[in-house]
């Protein structure tokens, strides 16, 4: 069982490196979720996104979510990294990577983690348009 890696970073996320970090001879499958910033939002063109985190709490939440996943599924490695600051369109804002002996566990845990991170990690994004911005959410 590999250590859990969670991080919040200010620059580009190196997915390949993260996936390599959870690889292991005992793992047969790795499920990865890569969140990328997109445009349009509704019918407005987004120029870029700006992410903000309550960093220490977000790291705690992400670690707790990853631990929960590891207690529910037989996993080998777990990694969850979120980017903050300005993120251009099409760039990666979040990566969840989970390796397991069998693929079902990897898929289910990966989906669980991204769903939980989006629901509970104190991270916010605003969409920046040519003429203003909007926080995403209700």
């Amino acid at each position: 069982m590999l250590p859990i890696l969670v991080d919040i970073v200010d620059g580009r996320i190196d997915t390949e490196k993260l996936v390599a970090g959870i690889s292991d001879p005992s793992a047969g499958g790795t499920a990865v979720f890569i969140g990328t910033t997109r445009t349009p939002s509704g019918n407005r063109e987004v120029e870029y996104l700006e992410y903000e985190a309550y960093r220490p709490m977000a790291l705690k939440q992400m670690a707790a979510i990853a631990e929960t996943a590891r207690s529910r599924w037989p996993l080998v490695g777990v990694c969850a990294v979120h980017r903050v600051g300005r993120v251009g369109i099409g760039e990666t804002s979040v990566v969840i990577a989970v390796s397991a002996v069998h693929r079902a566990a990897a898929f289910e845990a990966c989906r669980f983690i991204i769903d939980a991170v989006k629901k509970d990690a104190p991270i916010w994004k605003k969409e920046v348009f040519a003429d203003g911005h909007a926080w995403v959410g209700p």
């Binding site: 979120h82 979040v94 991270i123 916010w124 926080w135």
Partner: protein
């Protein structure tokens, strides 16, 4: 009278105009009274009242609980990571 320092984020930070604020605190302050004081002071927050979660010492506090000046209190508007 010591105050309670409250961290704010996202749209709440934008309304407050700062990433933290000191609220005057009497005895028996709770997560509920802190939230109420903040909204009283910044009325544009009122429409968001039902959407705001409170964290104390970096943990969500779903039910009302006492807060003391040493606690790290944070107002968590609807999250949108990912």
């Amino acid at each position: 009278m010591k105050g309670i320092r409250v961290r704010v984020f996202g749209r709440v930070k934008e309304i407050v105009g700062s990433d933290e604020i000191d609220l005057p605190a009497g005895a028996g302050e709770t997560t509920g009274t802190v939230l109420k004081s903040l909204i009283d002071r910044y009325p544009p927050l009122a429409p968001w009242r039902d959407y705001l979660r409170v964290a104390v010492n970096q943990e969500y506090v779903p039910d009302e609980r006492t807060v003391s000046p040493g606690d790290e209190v944070a107002i968590i508007p609807p999250v949108s990571g990912g």
